[in-house]
Symmetry: C2
Subunit: 471 residues, 2 copies
């Protein structure tokens, strides 16, 4: 806390700004092993709030949590050929355990898919056992050569859902429900982030999936970040893991499965979507601390009143804290609250006290207004709602301003220099995808013409695609 | 669900009974790698309830959550000599990552103590940064040669707290507060488990600790289970990791640290403390499902009424579910609810319906009583409180009946055949401890004569000790 926080201006050097915000807002540190990450208390508090909301949505969709082991026999990964090819350069392998060399090395899970498949097969006997709706919160490891905090780290935290269904329609509807009601609704209502929800192209699909649905957010530099995905796996996965069941018809059938996940990468998205030159801007619905009360100086009457306001806001259901740290100037405490993206500050000084006022300062717009002391507890909740709506509106406005409707690959590449391009999928196709890739531009998702998630019966010829550079 | 659940009677073969309960109540399975465990949804739901309550208590004590990496450089463990000695035969070592042999192998954390120590040193600059109160929920790995589900598995889930303080008294008070207000109060109020809280002897202390406090529970076979521990580490740990700070006096000082932990082992304790020949008995405060509503037969009017009762209980704040699975007889559904230890069953059949009654069945005592339909929602909450109190009273009664006050080592060993022995510590001492160890009996903890946790100024000559065989 000795060096006054100076962060690189966002427009000068976006990646450097990102690193600075993570450091100065005390979100995370590099871990001792290359590619690993220490999530500091403030960063972890953001994750806990994300987890709680997503977990409630997952449970509302009928899935239950379980926990599967960290270590997976190497042979499991080989059962699904496509899988091991995708993962082997990313695997961490344990060769010694209990002071001895292991007879069979074990792999640290890059995902729990294979081990969950094995147990799903065991637990699925009859159609009465379906749907089997499982979710897990866990750490996974994928060795990273070019790590970046929250976005690409060798170990990250995530949730992975895995479900088995008696028929294709049920599986498809469930994967879609997760994409829309869990992920999209969470991004919009908690993260204040408008996302394009669509289907991945065949090339961009998850290995083994018959359909991958994605939520794509626009970051402050106009690049895309894949925020969460939900996959239909058809019967491919069930076939590899023998997830079959005795049907009501007395015959044996293969199940239809889905998988879906979201991770600590969303914290990276939160930083990059809403942050500015002063640091983070956390939407109030997510914020661990929604309001910070700051006495302008270390004066007994002022601090006492600040404490009173803090208590009144707590009683009004606001997540509030008091920052009256004696060794730090008012300016330093304001800077710190701004860095951490606290949505609203209640500032109070001796003159305010005499006038029966406080100053309400918004982090989103920087606006400051006086408010009568007696109205703080009633005004703040409405102000928080307004900050939430404004942050969302700003992100939407940015996305609209930076999403160009184009009709050629050349224009799409040009638009991807500053944002997204939208064009008919029939103008792109698999050849166009390859040509875009040469310019580091990818098809982020396919949508219906009115911007919705396509369904199985949407005609490919009607689809539009969103293309962009991506993290 | 095909074989009618038959579990080994508890008195015939306690370890076998324990395994059977875990399997039939669907708490956990063995994982694919020896010593690993799959925590099934019902087992995980118990863990989630434990986590939520302990987490709230930890936060009330002022600590914050963070997350530290899974992989630790081998060199870190060597910094604390006593530590590596204790852990090296238990370590899992990663030698390959990213498709290559690693230059320096990394260890899968057996605890995060060393890496947290490293970062505490970095974050602790001035006395203003203290106390630094951190907690982490994570998986850890300690290779097990004789695994037993929940009690000893190569990977387990836990919370580990690590704190740094400016002076010894503050550290001691905090470690004590965790032992009493987090662990003991949780065991008593949520797990309905009376625990002996005391200090470990020098021999039984955690490596490097100057004081280890423990909560010891009595299991159904009279053996002890260490449920959670809280350690004062003096300045030993701070010295090894350079956790020093600039004091208010302008000089540099070493911090005083503590650590404390509880794990999925508590699920093993829950099973063994309260289970009976019919399966689990879950205390209502902990139970993910407190009440199950069972229509006696698949009759439309009965099922409709059962659903109404379920809704009324939900509205009354009860965690309730309806079991009207059509393919399963009433008897099978009752057996299943008993296996899972659901505290209260509401059973309703056509005759009950005609008489305007239901049957309320308690899992703790097996008692069944009729109750008017109109009173279910008001009676059940009081009944749940009574079940909670009764389960606690039964565990306390068992412990009192099986704890013998003795005055010789020979009598202590005899008492440890069926339960605990209590005797003056001056009759045991370090020599006595060694002699007890020959009979597989250990000193579980030291207490004041009135059964309290000793403090620094309790005279050793006044202490009593609890000895037992232990898991
Ligand atoms: Zn099968
Ligand atoms: Zn230091």
């Amino acid at each position: 806390m000795d060096d006054v926080a100076v962060i690189t201006p966002r427009s000068n050097d976006f990646p450097r700004w990102y690193q600075d915000v993570i450091e100065k807002a005390e979100l995370a540190d590099n871990g001792p092993v290359r590619g690993s990450m220490v999530i500091r208390p403030y960063g972890y508090a953001l994750w806990e709030r994300m987890q709680a909301d997503i977990d409630a949505r997952i449970k509302a969709a009928g899935a239950v949590n379980a926990y599967f082991p960290l270590f997976i026999p190497e042979s499991y990964l080989r059962r699904e050929a496509e899988h091991v090819e995708g993962f082997s350069p990313e695997l961490a392998v344990v060769t010694h355990g209990g002071g001895k060399e292991l007879a069979e090395p074990v792999v640290v899970r890059p995902t729990s898919e294979t081990v969950i498949g094995e147990y799903m097969a065991k637990w699925t006997q009859s159609y009465r056992d379906l749907p089997l709706l499982l979710n897990q919160w866990a750490n996974v490891v994928r060795w990273e050569l070019r790590p970046r905090l929250f976005l690409r780290t060798s170990e990250f935290l995530w949730q992975e859902g895995h479900t088995a269904h008696a028929d294709e329609a049920d599986a498809a509807a469930y994967a879609r429900r997760i994409a829309l009601e869990v992920y999209r609704d969470f991004m919009v209502s908690m993260l204040a982030l408008p996302v394009f929800v669509g289907a991945k192209t065949r090339k961009e699909r998850f290995a083994g999936a018959t359909n991958t649905m994605t939520c794509e957010g626009m970051m402050g530099d106009g690049k895309a970040l894949q925020m969460a995905t939900s996959h239909e796996l058809g019967q491919n996965f069930a076939r590899a893991f023998d997830i079959d069941f005795l049907g009501a018809d007395g015959g044996r059938h293969l199940a239809w499965t889905t998988s879906w996940g979201s991770s600590t990468r969303m914290i990276g998205g939160l930083i990059m979507a809403h942050g500015d030159d002063n640091g983070l801007r956390i939407p109030p619905a997510l914020a661990p601390t929604q309001v910070i009360v700051l006495p302008v100086r270390d004066d007994e009457a002022v601090v006492a009143k600040a404490r009173e306001i803090t208590d009144a806001l707590t009683a009004a259901g606001v997540r509030v804290s008091l920052d009256a740290r004696p060794g730090l100037s008012f300016g330093r405490r304001v800077t710190d609250a701004e860095l951490k993206g606290i949505p609203v500050r209640v500032e109070i000084g001796p003159r305010d006290l005499a006038a029966g006022n406080v100053t309400l300062a918004r982090r989103d717009t920087g606006e400051k207004h006086p408010a009568p002391l007696t109205e703080v507890a009633t005004r703040v909740p409405a102000l928080l709602d307004d900050v939430q709506a404004t942050i969302y509106a700003q992100a939407l406005e940015l996305r609209e301003a930076r999403t160009a409707d184009v009709t050629s690959l050349a224009d799409a590449v040009e638009a991807a220099g500053t944002g997204f391009a939208r064009l008919p999928w029939r103008l792109v196709g698999e050849d166009g995808e390859a040509r875009l890739a040469e310019e580091s531009v990818t098809v982020r998702c396919l949508q219906t013409p009115d911007g919705e998630l396509p369904s199985a019966d949407t005609d490919d010829a009607d689809l539009v695609c969103i293309v962009a550079r991506a993290y």
